[in-house]
Symmetry: C2
Subunit: 275 residues, 2 copies
């Protein structure tokens, strides 16, 4: 844990304009959201296409230089997943040599948790409880073997705690060759969090007939992991302890976070509407 | 249901290059994924910013012209959520008048479900079971009052089935004024689906010591909705039947989809690696 609470600089492209009472620029908050999302969404622009594109990928924040760094430290984002050859090729060629610009492919990464459905008296005041983070940075291909191994372990254990060392490692030469990992150097980021119960306009909250008729509150929502289902060539009689404990912890934490999000008040409830 | 299975045209920017055996261009598949996601991620480019940006938003596919249209029909995407003034202003001004280009702001929309963790013998063969969809299109502001009301009902009932008519409706003038809805005319789209058990390389599947040591299989993963928690000004003794039934159906369906994704084989299992 760093001795001060670090924040990302507010940039014109990263500043939260709407409901800024819900915004945070704290590295700890933003990195925590990213590292607990099973997938992140990565956006980049494509030459000769009228549209930007989005890829779902797996991402974890880490530091190859200081592997013991905490969530609130300065970290880089490692990306892996269904990496189209396009993003890999673009990251490889975006080395900035020709232009003198910052090295790498400019990307935006979003990580979002839905924590509950907020049911109010009017459609406009309906909302979600959620935690969302956005990061902006430059992606480059990881070419150093040791850094690639670090990132592969980080990402595998980000999906299932402690999984990496329980599999056949290290990856062989063919696997190292065929696997691409991107490292994103972060320029800025922000988080937005909504928690708590519905909040309607005063006129509606004073409408007796309406209050007698409409149920208001929160339906908590969270990811659940089911019973591990053995595959066709599995030989172990049951899933090992580290998988079971990971699953149990995940399910308990997920449920707790969603329930707490419903019942705890917003830190700064300046926002009036929830549309 | 249309009498033929409609597909989106394959465009250079929408074609799935990697694992194309997992790809689909069917409207029914793509729209089904979008309409069951609690949130979608919307990407667009921002003038004078080095990075594209992503907003989490609420989206539902529908047809104002033919409200009875099915999931597999030609539909438009209606977006609502934490709409930054930036995307609204850009959509308002992107009317194509000056340039002769297609009307609206070019955006990319991603909708992704995680259905399970696929645990293989090697880190490289690990994967998720998932269903993801990407749509490309042009966003414009909905200005017609009737269409806006149609979209508000569509989106509200997309979050909780049948919720709209159980709240205080229609929205009043101030609410209509303050609410922005975007309509996206879709140019192309694609879906990518992975299901089934892990599939390792032959050399690993013939490694007896490895098979005796590593658990392989799928941990199904899905969203769950908890018990509805009443808010501070709720007066109803318990959540009404339509909310309870919606929650029960959602939880049963979510669990079934994740379990089926784990146990059913891929339609076309051409892909060898799962990295």
């Amino acid at each position: 844990m760093p001795t001060v609470d670090l924040e990302y600089p507010k940039q014109p492209y990263s500043k939260v304009n709407r409901y800024d009472s819900r915004a945070s620029y704290a590295l700890e908050t933003i990195h925590g959201i990213v590292n607990t999302c099973p997938i992140v969404h990565v956006s980049f622009t494509v030459p000769n296409s009228p549209f930007p594109t989005i890829l779902p990928m797996i991402g974890q924040m880490g530091s190859f230089a200081r592997p013991s760094a905490d969530t609130g430290d300065v970290l880089e984002l490692y990306l892996h997943g269904y990496v189209s050859s396009r993003i890999i090729n673009m990251s490889r060629s975006a080395n900035g040599e020709s232009s003198g610009q910052e090295e790498g492919l400019p990307i935006c990464v979003a990580a979002s948790h839905v924590d509950g459905l907020v049911l109010a008296l009017t459609p406009n005041s309906h909302s979600y409880n959620y935690r969302s983070a956005v990061l902006f940075g430059h992606a480059t291909l990881v070419t150093d073997v040791d850094e690639k191994l670090y990132a592969m372990e980080l990402i595998t254990n980000g999906v299932v705690r402690d999984r990496y060392r329980h599999t056949r490692v290290p990856p062989n030469a063919a696997e190292m060759q065929s696997t691409s990992v991107l490292r994103v150097r972060i320029s800025a980021g922000s988080a937005k969090v909504r928690s708590g119960m519905p909040n309607d306009d005063r006129a509606d909250k004073e409408d007796e007939a309406l209050l007698d008729r409409v149920w208001t509150g929160v339906v908590p929502m969270h990811y659940t992991m089911g019973e591990p289902l053995p595959g066709p060539y599995n030989r172990l009689e049951e899933a090992p302890k580290y998988i079971k404990e990971f699953r149990d912890d995940f399910n308990r934490d997920s449920k707790d976070v969603a329930t707490e999000a419903a019942t705890k008040p917003m830190k700064a409830a300046k926002a009036k509407h929830d549309d």
